[in-house]
């Protein structure tokens, strides 16, 4: 039997768990096919299949699935219910396989359920169930799962200690040509950039926001760079207990940024995102109390590059002036 080719869409949870999935599938002797970075055609094809109210990342995801449909045997679409006890995920992730099936019937889907809230036993059974697609040997599946976990920890550590973005780490892993590092040793401002990874690191969706900020000579504090303890502390301070699975990327990171030496926070949210609509408002209120600049960029398929850029420049100008006033050099204000 030829090795099965498993397609992984470069969208949604790819930025969070790709090393994990790749290790698992390759350990069990299959080939991983990754979809190319998002293009406008993908977004167009994705949004033509789902109703208009669906949020942007899901539309992008469907576009990726459609682009993979004829390139691989199965497309891996997990339903991640919970990663911690009593903390559940957004409905879009819970129903993702079913929604993908309805929207892209031509794709063969490999489903998986991950529900940590149901207990360890259920989790092991689910992993075993997934492994059974490839091998009959439970020990091999166990070993694959262990390797998977180690790969994930290594991925997290790399981002935390080397302060590399997921994009850089994943690029290294896939052997993509490394971008020339900007000499950013002497930044004039420190800006927190928060939001879900599928918005922060999808360069098509946010119009290369990361690179643009670096070009403007700003140091960026991104969610993966923040330690888990700090993250949890910020959540405990702001909302007592997390409600959504990926609340750490927003409330945790945002709260940490606003509490620490950061000149301003830029938040990315998708239009129609349920969790973000509430969490971002909570953060905005907190930023007001902390007297820190906070800008919320809501992205959808109608977001224009120029509009985004104008807002970004205006925000950075504002930070520059604030700093200038603070440093008592208001008299000799120069443009950069």
């Amino acid at each position: 039997m030829a090795t099965p080719r498993i397609g992984i869409p470069r969208a949604l949870l790819y930025y969070e768990y790709f090393p994990m999935w790749k290790t698992f599938f390759e350990y069990l002797g299959s080939e991983v096919v990754l979809s190319p970075p998002t293009t406008s055609r993908m977004l167009a094809s994705g949004s033509s299949r789902v109703v208009a109210e669906t949020c942007l990342p899901v539309k992008v995801f469907i576009g990726h699935v459609l682009s993979l449909a004829d390139k691989c045997d199965y497309i891996f679409v997990p339903a991640i219910r919970s990663m911690e006890e009593k903390i559940h995920n957004c409905s879009k992730f819970l129903g993702l396989p079913d929604m993908t099936k309805a929207a892209a019937p031509e794709a063969h889907i490999l489903e998986a359920d991950i529900d940590v809230d149901k207990g360890k036993r259920q989790l092991y059974l689910d992993v075993y169930k997934m492994g059974r697609h490839f091998t009959w040997n439970p020990f091999k599946i166990k070993k694959a799962a262990e390797a998977t976990w180690q790969a994930h920890q290594a991925y997290l550590a790399k981002m935390l200690t080397h302060s590399k973005t997921p994009l850089q780490v994943l690029g290294e892993m896939l052997g993509e040509p490394e971008r020339k590092e900007k000499d950013n040793s002497n930044p004039w401002a420190r800006v927190g950039l928060i939001g879900h990874p599928y918005l922060l690191y999808d360069e098509y969706v946010n119009y290369r926001l990361f690179t643009r900020l670096e070009d403007l000579g700003v140091e960026i504090l991104f969610p993966e760079k923040i330690k888990k303890e700090d993250n949890d502390a910020a959540i405990a301070k702001l909302v007592e207990k997390a409600y959504w699975t990926y609340e750490g990327e927003v409330i945790g990171a945002g709260g940490y940024c606003l509490d620490n030496e950061v000149d301003g926070v830029i938040a990315l949210a998708a239009f129609g995102c349920g969790p973000d609509s509430m969490m971002m408002d909570l953060l905005q209120r907190y930023a007001k109390r902390q007297r820190k600049p906070f800008m919320l960029l809501t992205l959808d398929e109608h977001t224009s590059e120029t509009g985004l850029l104008t807002r970004l420049e205006a925000f950075l100008d504002m930070i520059y002036r604030r700093k200038a006033v603070r440093n008592n050099v208001a008299a000799g204000l120069k443009t950069r």
């Binding site: 789902v50 109703v51 109210e53 669906t54 949020c55 339903a79 219910r81 919970s82 009593k86 903390i87 559940h88 957004c90 409905s91 879009k92 819970l94 129903g95 396989p97 079913d98 929604m99 099936k101 309805a102 929207a103 019937p105 489903e111 359920d113 809230d117 909302v239 409600y243 959504w244 949210a269 239009f271 129609g272 995102c273 349920g274 969790p275 973000d276 609509s277 509430m278 969490m279 971002m280 408002d281 909570l282 209120r285 809501t298």
Partner: protein
């Protein structure tokens, strides 16, 4: 301590009864009006759903009337509802109201116990006997409203003079709300059922059967869905709806802890298309469409704009094998009555034509 609570359909009847029976100081929230909506919309984040905005409007209005202890739902693994209290607390604090939130969990297995314990706490630790009898009285009222509503749904499309059934229903609602003891309540119920049965009806007319599915708040709050059921009644449509608060409490309070799942059949029907619980009422919406596709002529799917679970349902519903027309009505603060009416009329026309064609074949 003055208690305040938000509106959600007819849920105010049992809550008010409970507090009245216990002699607790409370503020009855004013009924939803344009003002409630605009207050809620003004202070809510723009992207949240309509139930959040309306309940926030209610809470602001009760705070204006002097309430300082507010009841709101909480939970986990549902939808945004679990986050309502957290955010509304902050919004009210920023508005300068010093209100304390009491949260009622809707995702624990033994909800009834939590609910009664909460009320015991709020009613100055009154005796369990008193609490239980007040609770039972409130729930009987809720059940009676439900029974009368079912009958009204049958009468509305066939009555000769339009509007009588609806007027009777509003009167009955008021009478039940004001009833002070069991015998009077029984009398009221019997009276109104009698009156509804005597409404002159056009028995030759065969109404279309339309099911209403969707998110529980907007389905059951007439203000948020533009009096959907009344308007459908005027168009000669018999409304079928399984969701109601009486049913919700019956299963969630008594039968679910015993392991009886009211939605088992519905979930089984949804299985080929949606295998997982997506929170809220998304799974049930898909299941009901599939399950009742033979008996209903069409389905109206009501959901708040940007509702998480219902977006999933909305994406899956048109792709089922069971082919009956679905009209999705998304409710938000921009919704207009006339626009909704036009869409309903067009939908009813479509259903009628389909029925005629089916019969000619």
């Amino acid at each position: 301590m003055r208690l305040g609570f938000p509106h959600a359909g007819t849920i105010y009847v049992p809550i008010r009864t409970l507090f009245q029976e216990m002699g607790t100081d409370f503020v009855m929230p004013p009924f939803n009006t344009k003002r409630t909506l605009s207050l809620g919309t003004k202070y809510s984040p723009e992207g949240t759903c309509l139930p959040f905005k309306l309940t926030l409007g209610n809470l602001i209005e009760v705070c204006e009337l002097g309430a300082d202890t507010l009841i709101q739902a909480r939970g986990f693994g549902i939808c945004r509802l679990g986050y309502y209290a957290k955010l509304q607390e902050q919004i009210l604090r920023d508005l300068g109201y010093d209100a304390h939130f009491v949260k009622f969990s809707v995702s624990e297995r033994f909800k009834l116990y939590g609910f009664l314990k909460l009320f015991k706490q709020l009613c100055n630790n009154a005796s369990w006997r008193k609490i239980l009898s007040a609770y039972y009285f409130g729930m009987t009222k809720l059940g009676d409203i439900d029974d009368i509503e079912r009958l009204v749904q049958k009468v509305r499309p066939v009555e000769i003079e339009k509007g009588i059934a609806n007027r009777l229903f509003n009167e009955a609602l008021k009478a039940i709300d004001e009833a002070s003891n069991f015998s009077f309540l029984k009398q009221v119920k019997r009276d109104y059922i009698e009156k509804l049965n005597q409404v002159p009806k056009n028995l030759d007319f065969e109404p279309l059967k339309v099911g209403i599915v969707g998110e529980i708040y907007v389905v059951l709050e007439p203000f948020s869905n533009m009096d959907l059921e009344v308007e459908l009644g005027k168009l000669g449509v018999e409304v079928h709806r399984t969701i109601s608060y009486a049913r919700w409490t019956k299963y969630n309070f008594y039968l679910n802890p015993l392991g009886i799942d009211e939605w088992k059949k519905v979930h089984k029907a949804a299985w080929p298309y949606l295998k997982r619980d997506v929170g809220g009422d998304g799974w049930e919406s898909v299941g009901e469409k599939v399950l009742h596709s033979k008996e209903w002529d069409g389905v109206i799917h009501v959901a708040p704009f940007t509702c998480l679970p219902e977006v999933i349902a909305q994406n899956i519903m048109p792709h089922t094998k069971e082919d009956i027309p679905v009209l999705t009505l998304l409710c938000d603060e921009q919704m207009g009555k006339q626009g909704t009416l036009t869409r309903l009329e067009a939908f009813v026309d479509l259903l009628e034509r389909r029925r005629r064609q089916r019969r000619m074949r």
